[in-house]
């Protein structure tokens, strides 16, 4: 349970500026997700919060107390690494208990906490095993268990799911969401490059780009009111369709963006015409890729499993009120 204040946080490695002034308040008990493309500085920002890197400029405060120079172990945090970072020579139990053992906690107290965490994560049967005797998903749970045992005020996750296969990723994502509810009050900061993870887990998302914050908001805010073309393109799957030139002119914008689910198929007023390039059938719905004469094909989501042949002519129109308009700098002009 802690509120974090980041004030003009900067980080340089030598002459390379990686974090270029981040202002952000993370509320107590909040699930905050840092999302952005690879290399934008998410991990670095998280490691600054953890204390694993030194802060070059600005202040970092936990509950109003500046912690810039506080050792990681004194900040009341726990971190789950992408690579699990388990001690390979220790059993699952020892991995989880190690920190407490060295802090000279009572044996009973340690066992109680480890067993409780193990139960929560369903790893109780594996307590005597070594990490190498576990699957990737189990290892990641041990890593999460180790974090829980620390009983931290702030949980830090750095891409904890990216080494897992797709099915396991969804399952573990659910566990983390459950964990947040059950740990009532712990602040969680979660780094990912996967916007689906961000959308499904976050109370609020912080979109980073090149070491600066593009936008902070709830998933719905980012989805409905992106404050830049970058955020509009990054959030949502498939990617928002961007059109310029003759498509954007009628809307009085340099660029317009329409999500695939906000386009209807069929002729009508203001409809665009073109040809089907390809269609993907996902069972519940399908995605039609159409060449409208723009730089890139337009993706349209359609319910059901209607088949479109490549080359087939098609008319599509954006749903009124769902067209995002952007100026030449990529700033939003509102929807129309």
């Amino acid at each position: 349970m802690a509120e974090l204040q980041l004030r003009d946080i900067r980080k340089s490695f030598g002459t390379v500026d990686v974090i270029k002034g981040v202002d952000l308040t993370i509320n107590s008990g909040e699930f905050m997700v840092f999302v952005g493309p690879s290399g934008c500085g998410k991990s670095t920002l998280l490691r600054l919060i953890a204390g694993l890197e030194t802060i070059t400029g600005g202040t970092l405060a936990f509950d109003g107390q500046i912690v810039n120079n506080l050792a990681p172990s004194k900040r009341g945090i726990a971190m789950v690494f992408q690579s699990y970072a388990l001690y390979p020579h220790m059993t699952v139990y020892d991995n989880m208990a190690f920190g407490m053992q060295l802090a000279h906690a009572g044996k009973e107290q340690i066992r109680e906490r480890v067993e409780k965490a193990a139960e929560l994560l369903q790893i109780s049967p594996y307590l005597k095993r070594l990490p190498k005797q576990l699957s990737g998903g189990q290892r990641q749970r041990v890593a999460i268990g180790r974090a829980i045992v620390r009983d931290p005020k702030v949980f830090l996750f750095d891409e904890p799911l990216s080494n897992l296969d797709a099915a396991l990723r969804v399952a573990t994502r659910l566990e983390i969401a459950k964990l947040h509810h059950s740990m009532n009050g712990a602040t969680m900061i979660y780094v990912t490059h996967d916007q689906v993870e961000a959308m499904t887990l976050a109370d609020r998302i912080c979109v980073l780009r090149d070491g600066i914050i593009e936008q902070v908001g709830t998933p719905v805010e980012l989805y409905e009111q992106p404050q830049s073309i970058f955020v509009a393109g990054f959030i949502g799957s498939p990617k928002m369709n961007f059109l310029t030139g003759r498509f954007a002119e009628p809307y009085g914008a340099k660029t317009i963006g329409v999500r695939s689910e906000h386009i209807q198929i069929g002729p009508g007023e203001g409809a665009w015409t073109g040809k089907v390039i390809h269609s993907e059938n996902l069972g519940s719905d399908s995605y039609v890729y159409a060449d409208m004469g723009a730089d890139e094909p337009v993706v349209v989501r359609e319910d059901g499993t209607k088949k479109h042949q490549p080359g087939e002519p098609i008319s599509i129109r954006p749903i009124p009120g769902q067209v995002h308009r952007f100026d030449a700098e990529g700033r939003p002009l509102g929807r129309q």
Partner: protein, 326 residues
Amino acid sequence: MSDIAIPAKANATRRPDESDLVKQRVRAAMWFLLPMLAALAVVAAWPLLRTIWFSMTDASLTHLADARFVWFNNYLHWTVLKSGKVIWSGVLVDPAWWNAVWNTLRFAVLSVAFETVFGVIVALVLNAEFPGRGIVRAAVLIPWAIPTIVSARMWGWMFNDQFGIINDMLMHLGLISTKIAWTASADTAFYAILIVDIWKTTPFMALLILAALQMIPRDIYEAAAIDGVHPVKTFFRVTLPLIRPALMVAVIFRLLDAMRIFDLVYVLTPNSAQTKTMSVISRENLIDFDKFAYGSAESTLLFLIIAVMTILYIWIGQVRFEGGTR
């Protein structure tokens, strides 16, 4: 790992449809091993067998071909005098030999112990990030790269009682009041050898350990930092267990090497009973004293001692390793 485990299991069960494949693999392995085995037979097995053979003869340098087989007389032999007194002879009752064994063992244990500790320290330093690390890493290797004869001569001059820089420095620092004949004095000769060997071989240890240190993922240390583990404890509880397998290999390499030390002693303190090792004494008998068979017996014993130590070390290491995984 599982990719490797699966074919291995299949091999073990030897299903009929796979036996051809297995045969083919064995044949391929034989062809790969053959040149190696041939080379080993010529340079290792044959000389070893010859040495063992000579150790059971009365050969001398001038009578190698017409040597007579005398069983184990070179090792242990007794003569009963007319007076009824029994006189024992042979390597196993030779005080000079046992002195050499003791010198060698003491040298091997002490030098490897120091080299391991210093090697770990140097490796930890080299593993840290600092400007010019590449150059320092290369520079540290220099003692190892210099041929032993050269460095032994070099240290011989440094240890010289009259002109040596070591006496000079110690005198200036006021640590000693009279010059010490490092290599000639019975009290110091052994330590002179020890110092030079440690100086020479620590880089080798450091490099092997550095390789092991670099295999440890950095994030484990970060996890330890978050766990609030003191760096010293991190070293003993995390680093050391993780480099232990590599450390074991390095120690056994060095131990075997130290057991047959010759060149350093031969150059630095050729006439000191305090430093005479098994290799030195067997060469002395083989060449200088023209007791070829006797020297061969000593060489054979040296071989046996090293073999037994190797087996023991591996066995103990395995037992402890299994204990650690429990």
